[in-house]
């Protein structure tokens, strides 16, 4: 136990403490709030806003798509399909970074395959204002790992939706809509919200995909940290990166607390 405690303290505790400590230090080593003030204004604030919007888009949209997909599979009778989707989701949910970037450039880049197919029917998306190397391009690419993640998270909850409940509801005269309104949705809601919160965290923290796809040109909080670490900083603002890191901690801590609350509610139906 001792080696593990020491290791995780040095590898996790010390770096976290360092980030928090230097967020409140000036370059001269004096305590200051100026880093925090910088981060809550101007371009750094914009980075947080964009990151939060991106995380919201890439949690709500894939959340709904993943739910529909998981439901389509859970109600199917084919065990092969179920096994295939479970395995594929496991692999795809871990996708990201450089491989994903290259695959999407080959698909929807200006000379990509899908772009070529679509321009053959005069629907080249680039002519309609689409740009893969932009904020919405990043959001589209994030779907690729967020949807499978949602499928993985939500499938056990769908399994907990017992057919007998539906039969009971129908026996008491409920329509399909009535069943979903009074049984299905209330039972699933905490699990769906929990899944979306997880997706929010993963979309908010992701760095490699956005960085490699846009070469660091989108204004997102993780990209700003990367750029600061690479030495693109103004004199007298050397410690501002730590304040951005602290800000990310705060957002993720709130997300995880909410997740814990929702999770407790969801587990009620998962026995």
């Amino acid at each position: 136990m001792a080696p593990f405690s020491i290791y995780s303290f040095l590898g996790l505790g010390v770096p976290i403490i360092a980030v928090i400590y230097y967020a409140f230090q000036s370059e001269q080593g004096k305590p200051t709030l100026s880093n925090i003030a910088l981060v809550t204004h101007g371009s750094y604030l914009l980075g947080f806003e964009n990151s939060i919007v991106l995380a919201l888009i890439t949690s709500i949209v894939p959340g709904i798509i993943g739910l529909i997909l998981a439901y389509a599979i859970a109600t199917s009778r084919s065990a092969t399909l179920k096994r295939l989707v479970a395995t594929a989701s496991g692999v795809l949910a871990n996708f990201g970074g450089i491989n994903l970037t290259f695959m999407f450039i080959a698909t929807l880049g200006s000379t990509g395959i899908l772009t070529a197919w679509l321009s053959a029917i005069h629907l080249n998306p680039w002519n309609f204002g689409f740009n893969l190397y932009s904020f919405y391009g990043v959001a589209l690419v994030y779907l690729y790992f967020q949807v499978p993640l949602m499928v993985l998270v939500i499938t056990p909850a769908l399994g907990g939706l017992r057919p007998s409940w539906r039969e009971a509801a129908e026996n008491m005269g409920a329509s399909s809509w009535g069943y979903w309104r009074y049984v299905g949705v209330p039972v699933l809601m905490p699990s769906v919200l929990g899944g979306m919160l997880l997706l929010f965290g993963s979309g908010f923290a992701a760095y490699a995909t956005a960085e490699t796809l846009t070469a660091g040109t989108v204004t997102l909080a993780p990209i700003q940290i990367g750029s600061l670490l690479a030495g693109n900083q103004l004199a007298g603002q050397e410690n501002v990166g730590y304040a951005v890191g602290l800000g990310m901690f705060v957002v993720l801590a709130v997300t995880m607390i909410l997740y814990g609350l929702v999770r407790r509610r969801a587990s009620k139906w998962l026995r």
Partner: protein, 282 residues
């Protein structure tokens, strides 16, 4: 993380009970086909595009030149071997640290399991970019000058997956009886761990190994910010020279990882099936 999850999910998926005599709803079937078709297209087209791009030359004709060129590209073998060395060191450190710890906690301090659960989930919650920010600031200079600083951090990153798979493996065996039997037969602790516990954890160790390797070989964020040209960093940088070759390396490494995972998992399945049969016969 994922390779752990599928088994659980698979069970949940397959175990969904069939509603006896439920009306077959044709509308539902059409709807399901449409959903699956769209999802299939979204997930398969990029894979196809990546493969296609890897086997194409600049003129757009099918060609193997990119794949053949990989080993001789400048910087490739250095990056490849750096990634391999990091993977081996990370794996060794992870196993030496995590196996005795989880065995010890299971055996002697079961009350600490919740704490361990919490500590080992932290690396998922803390963004890698923030962790490396703190690491680069806090690490002493001599360590920052070495690529193996990355291995030390990757051990932290792999903890959630490794601990979870070891924890599941340890919960599935009667650890206490095994250890007591070994001890009463005169085995010392090291002997017990190596010759009794480890063989019984084979499949947990395998999945921990696979997850750690996949993690190290694909990690970009920390390696690029620590300024070491590991394989993913090299792939990213080389796209400016030849995007076909870069994409080819990325697809080959992807397929290689999948093959490795499939191989190890299927080896393990057939192995455990054989063991089970043997136990049944005896």
């Amino acid at each position: 993380m994922a390779s752990l999850i599928p088994d659980i999910v698979e069970d949940a998926l397959v175990a969904v009970p069939e509603a006896p005599g439920r009306r077959r709803r044709p509308r539902l079937r059409v709807w399901r086909a449409v959903v699956l078709f769209i999802a299939g297209a979204y997930f398969l087209i990029p894979i196809y595009a990546g493969l296609r791009f890897s086997f194409e030359n600049d003129a757009g004709h099918l060609s193997l030149y990119a794949v053949k060129a990989i080993p001789s590209e400048p910087g490739f073998s250095a990056a490849f071997w750096l990634s391999m060395r990091l993977a081996v060191v990370t794996l060794a450190l992870t196993l030496v640290l995590m196996v005795p710890t989880s065995v010890y906690v299971h055996l002697k301090l079961p009350r600490l399991r919740r704490l361990l659960d919490f500590v080992t989930i932290l690396p998922i919650v803390i963004p890698p970019i923030v962790l490396i920010l703190g690491v680069l600031r806090a690490a002493p200079l001599w360590l920052r000058a070495s690529p193996y600083l990355l291995s030390l951090v990757y051990v932290i990153l792999s903890m959630p997956f490794v601990y979870r798979s070891l924890d599941a493996g340890l919960s599935a065996i009667d650890l206490k009886t095994l250890v007591e039997a070994s001890r009463s037969l005169g085995g010392n602790w090291l002997n017990t761990l190596w010759r009794v516990v480890v063989p019984n954890l084979r499949s947990a160790l395998l999945s921990a190994t696979v997850l750690t390797l996949a993690l190290v070989l694909g990690e970009f964020t920390m390696a690029s910010l620590d300024l070491w040209t590991t394989l993913p960093v090299w792939i990213y940088q080389f796209q400016q020279v030849d995007a076909h070759v870069s994409t080819a390396v990325s697809m080959v490494s992807l397929i290689g990882t999948w093959l490795l995972i499939t191989l190890i998992v299927s080896l393990d399945r057939s192995q455990s099936r054989r063991t089970r049969r043997r136990t049944n016969n005896s």
